[in-house]
Structures are given as structure tokens and as C-alpha cells.
């Protein structure tokens, strides 16, 4: 390839290239470097690299270059540990120093003279990209575990959380309280007031139940349709029953009218509760479900607690 094409290649490349000889005299200064250093090629070629820049070069950069020239071994300067070893700036004229990753590779001429090529890449974009990807993945992770209607955890998150909480409780012989909660006569509510109003009720009930939680370990999730599930740790059976009463009262006190609720004429919930130290043999979740079924049978707007 003719030399003039090679020069075009050096200048077209989207990477900073500097070649210096063993005395640190600049032999190559490509367009990328000229643009980011705001120093023209003519003002750099033939001069000592340290003298070309108006600002001092970082000591680690200088010793890396010295080592590469002395031993003929390549050196890398990571952006993580050095940020900005050379006084190079963004092109917007904001005088913002570029985040750089630098590679210094030894070159040997046919006459056996040692040179080195300094490659500079701009890490700003990759840092931005990483940050964007991370924030996207955080958003996705949040969305994957959130119920879109109510904003509380969804069934997927609950299933995973229950698995972990269950095994922890078995191992640490810790008591687990499972509350299965269902909105009473919800189908009748939907039929009479319409689905949009039904959604609103689900949302309000979810927020009301969530507002009763106080500890970081407490978890409430939408189990399905108008059904919710709550897991609390370390409560005695009495404490758990008291808590269930509190949940039931909180929803009752909302006093949301429900003409088709035969007894109460307002929105109420039924709760099935099971508290105990779980083990593989006893399924605390289905026990709470049985308790919920009994709460429905016994007239609704109530809590039934079953021992494990």
C-alpha cells in the first residue's frame, strides 16, 4: 500500500494515534489526536512529546511509555484507574477532558531502533452506554416483578420470594404468617359498576393493604384477579390474627359503596391466615387458602386462622 494511502488511513481512523521514538520525539500525530488535543500535526511532529502539550503529562503515563520503550513490552492504562492521562478534550469546545483508555505497544524498526505507538480511545461513549444499559436493566427488573395495575409485587415475584422465605424459615426455625386475602362479591361489583370501577377498587384495596406494612421483610403481592397474598415473619399466632383484623378493618373503613354486597353494602375482604414454623411436610400456603375458603363460607368480612 502506498505511503500516502497509509497516511489517509491513520487520519481517517476513529482512534488517537501517536508514534514516538526512544527519545520521545513525536513521529506520528494523527487527525484524531490533533482535534482532541487542539494541537496541529505541524506543531507536534519532531518535538518531544512532553513538550507538545501545554499541560504536564501524568507520571503514570510517562513511566508506562518509558517502560515500553526500555523493555519492548506493551502497556495498558485502563480508564477505570486513570480516567484521563492525556490532556485531550471533547470536540464541543466545552473543555471537558476525555475519558481515555490507552494502549502503548512497542515497535522495532528494521535497524533495531525502538519506537512505540500510543493508541488512545475515547471511553466516554462506552461509559454512557454502560450506564444506559444498567438503568434499562434496572427498570426491566422492576417491571418484571411489579403488577402493572396496582404497583405492588406480582405473582412471579411472590413465587420466587415465597420459595426463599420458606427455606429461610425452615432453616432458622422462624415463624411465617401467610395471609390469603380476597375482595368479597367482587364479580357482582364488576357486573354492577363496570370493569373500570372494579380495577379502581383492586388498586385502592392493594394500596390500603400495603400501607399497613411497616417492616422491610413484609411482602404483599397480587396473587391473581381480586386476590392478594401477604407474608410476614416472626409473628405469634395471636399477633398475626390481630394483624389480620387490622387489614380487614382498614378495607372496611374505606367505606367504598357496593350495592350488591348483601350484608354490608360496601366493599369488604375475607382473610385466610396460617401461622407457624414451616416444614416440607406442611404446605402453609394451601392451609391459608383453606382458611380463606372457610372465611367466605362463614359469612365474609372476616378472618379465619388455621394452625399449621
Amino acid at each position: 500500500m502506498p505511503d500516502y494511502i497509509l497516511e489517509d488511513v491513520f487520519n481517517a481512523i476513529n482512534l488517537g494515534l501517536i508514534v514516538v521514538d526512544a527519545d520521545y520525539t513525536v513521529l506520528l500525530w494523527n487527525d484524531w489526536i490533533a482535534r482532541h488535543a487542539h494541537i496541529r500535526q505541524d506543531d507536534a511532529i519532531g518535538r518531544n512529546l512532553a513538550g507538545v502539550f501545554p499541560e504536564p503529562l501524568s507520571p503514570t503515563f510517562l513511566s508506562a511509555m518509558k517502560n515500553t520503550l526500555a523493555y519492548g513490552l506493551p502497556t495498558v492504562l485502563s480508564n477505570a484507574l486513570h480516567r484521563s492521562p492525556l490532556p485531550l478534550y471533547d470536540l464541543a469546545g466545552q473543555k471537558i477532558r476525555l475519558h481515555q483508555s490507552i494502549t502503548i505497544s512497542p515497535l522495532l524498526s528494521q535497524q533495531g531502533e525502538q519506537y512505540c505507538i500510543i493508541q488512545v480511545s475515547d471511553s466516554t461513549t462506552s461509559i454512557k452506554r454502560e450506564k444506559m444499559l444498567r438503568s434499562h436493566s434496572e427498570t426491566l427488573r422492576r417491571e418484571v416483578s411489579t403488577d402493572s395495575l396496582t404497583g405492588i409485587y406480582n405473582r412471579r415475584f411472590f413465587d420466587e420470594h415465597y420459595e426463599i422465605a420458606f427455606h429461610n424459615a425452615v432453616r432458622q426455625k422462624q415463624s411465617l404468617s401467610v395471609f390469603m386475602i380476597d375482595i368479597d362479591y367482587f364479580k357482582d361489583y364488576n357486573d354492577y359498576y363496570g370493569h373500570l370501577s372494579g380495577d379502581k377498587v383492586i388498586k385502592t384495596v392493594a394500596q390500603t393493604l400495603k400501607a399497613t406494612l411497616s417492616r422491610g421483610s413484609d411482602v404483599i403481592a397480587r396473587f391473581g384477579g381480586e386476590e392478594f397474598v401477604l407474608i410476614l415473619l416472626d409473628l405469634t399466632a395471636e399477633q398475626a390474627e390481630k394483624y389480620a383484623e387490622k387489614l380487614k378493618d382498614a378495607v372496611f373503613n374505606l367505606a367504598i359503596p357496593h350495592r350488591n354486597s348483601p350484608l354490608f353494602k360496601q366493599v369488604t375482604i375475607s382473610i385466610g391466615l396460617c401461622t407457624g414454623i414451616p416444614s416440607i411436610e406442611y404446605d402453609i400456603l394451601s392451609k391459608a387458602d383453606i382458611a380463606l375458603y372457610r372465611a367466605k363460607q362463614e359469612g365474609r368480612n372476616r378472618c379465619i386462622a388455621l394452625p399449621l
Binding site: T60, L73, P74, A80
Partner: protein
């Protein structure tokens, strides 16, 4: 005898690497190479490398000259992350580190490997060429596959490396893979060096 001389070479290298790292960290870091062993590639096993389960951060540079070798520096993945965190200052969480890990570990490995190679070059009056450092995270089995797959490299030089900073002490391994011809050449150069003392 030759092994002692080689251990000395690597300790000089480790000293140089430690001072470079200290400069970057702004805090004193010590590196030592307490032991050096020569093994046949065939007899290598996780036990000999004292590698347990888990994943390892590996920096590899292939070098050539009077003898050819592949140099691999191994730290357990957790250890590698902690070292990098120390080097970068504590303002970053381990999660934030993931993106910088590869580059920073590459540099750390590059500093240690270059220091050892240049110490060797100085003492044995030779010059070595090297590839750019390459960082990978691999399991113990994958590393052993790499070691044993290079059939031409029948020997390995095994060095345990201890990196001590104010906050922690980390154990790593430096492995040099050598062909028998290269090992012979290396020994010849060491003999020459010893005869000149």
C-alpha cells in the same frame, strides 16, 4: 539452584510491580512470590494449583524471545473484584465495578506480568516481546483445559503470589507455560547468569 535464582528474579519483578501499583493506589501495596515450582503440564490438577470451585479472573500475555512462554495470572473472581475496588477507591459499589473490571484487571495483570518479564530481561540480559494482555473470567476446568490443550508447552512454572494492601491480603497464581525447548533455553540463560555472579 536455578529455581532459587528464578524466584529471586520474580521477587525483583514483584517489587517493581508493587511500587507501580502503590503509585496508582496512593497507598502501600506489597507483592511477594514466596514459592516457585516446576511441573509437567500433564500432572497439573486443581489440587496442585490449589484452585477451588468458582470462577477466576485471568490475565494472559504470550511472550517470545530467547524462550517462548504464555504467562497467566489468576485471581479468584471475588478477589479480583476486591483488588480492583481497592485500586479504584471505595466510592464505587461492586455492581458498578462490573463494567470497569475487565479493563482494570487487565491493567493490574499487565503491571505484574510486565514487571516480572522486565526483571527477567534485566537479570538475564535478554529481551522479550509480548502480546497485549487479555482478560477473561473462567472456571477452574476451563483454565486447566487451556493449560493442558497447549500440547507443545510441556512444562509449567507455578508461582504463588501474595498481594498485600492496607485492607486485605489476596492470593493469586502466576503460571508460565513453556515448551521443553523453551525451558532448556531458560535454564541455560539462568546458568549463564549464575556463572557471571
Amino acid at each position: 539452584m536455578q529455581l532459587d535464582a528464578l524466584a529471586e528474579v520474580f521477587n525483583v519483578g514483584a517489587g517493581r510491580a508493587a511500587s507501580s501499583i502503590s503509585e496508582i493506589v496512593g497507598d502501600e501495596v506489597k507483592l511477594s512470590v514466596p514459592a516457585i515450582e516446576v511441573k509437567q503440564s500433564a500432572e497439573i490438577s486443581p489440587g496442585i494449583l490449589s484452585l477451588n470451585d468458582g470462577r477466576f479472573g485471568t490475565v494472559r500475555q504470550d511472550f517470545s524471545g530467547p524462550f517462548d512462554a504464555a504467562a497467566m495470572l489468576l485471581f479468584s473472581e471475588d478477589n479480583a473484584l476486591e483488588i480492583v475496588r481497592d485500586m479504584m477507591g471505595s466510592q464505587m459499589s461492586l455492581d458498578d465495578l462490573a463494567e470497569f473490571e475487565q479493563e482494570a484487571m487487565c491493567e493490574l495483570g499487565n503491571i505484574i506480568l510486565n514487571a516480572c518479564l522486565s526483571a527477567m530481561a534485566d537479570m538475564l540480559s535478554i529481551s522479550l516481546n509480548s502480546s497485549l494482555p487479555c482478560y477473561t473470567v473462567a472456571s477452574c476446568d476451563e483454565i486447566l483445559d487451556q493449560v493442558t490443550a497447549s500440547a507443545v508447552q510441556d512444562y509449567i512454572l507455578l508461582l504463588n503470589i501474595t498481594l498485600t494492601s492496607a485492607r486485605r491480603q489476596s492470593q493469586g497464581h502466576l503460571i508460565l507455560l513453556l515448551s521443553s525447548a523453551s525451558l532448556t533455553n531458560l535454564i541455560r540463560h539462568i546458568d549463564h547468569f549464575l556463572s557471571e555472579i
